[in-house]
Amino acid sequence: ELKVEQNPLFLSMQEGKNYTIYCNYSTTSDRLYWYRQDPGKSLESLFVLLSNGAVKQEGRLMASLDTKARLSTLHITAAVHDLSATYFCAVDENNDMRFGAGTRLTVKP
């Protein structure tokens, strides 16, 4: 069965600090997605990672994929309050998309 596990589930950071969110999955799929969700809102696509070693960056966020380890990371650099949200990773196996439980990130001044 396809499983996707994120950790940590809750993360409280101070502004200016760095941190990494981890996403482990059980399938051989090499398509991994990161989404952001603000409270009461829908999901916004952040990154799509399609191959081993893929790295993508947007602003203070950088995502990477290691398909051999079945691990993706979302690295936050010099966090700011605007990054406070819930971050989900998801894996697509033959159109069966499975999401992690999410990491609720709070960035404090």
């Binding site: 398509r31 696509s45 799509v48 159109n95």
Partner: protein
Amino acid sequence: NAGVTQTPKFRILKIGQSMTLQCAQDMNHNYMYWYRQDPGMGLKLIYYSVGAGITDKGEVPNGYNVSRSTTEDFPLRLELAAPSQTSVYFCASSFPGQENNEQFFGPGTRLTVL
């Protein structure tokens, strides 16, 4: 383009009632999906469709039905609503021609069953 639209935004049902959640997209996407999100949890796939007339079950299909008569619309039907179906429902679509199959999400429907 309006993207993915969902109606209604909110709904309260009594146990045993039925209803249809509407989803439409104007991006000519062949693939469409229905998810539910319980409080504090990730999304779970209910049903998906790869084109008009083709639907398939996802991870949690029990208690739901779908149809796909057009490319644009993908309604989700709840028969005999139960409190366990209280959730936020998201519809999404994607374009199969894109290698990455990135999904675009609607705003969601918040359903409460009492």
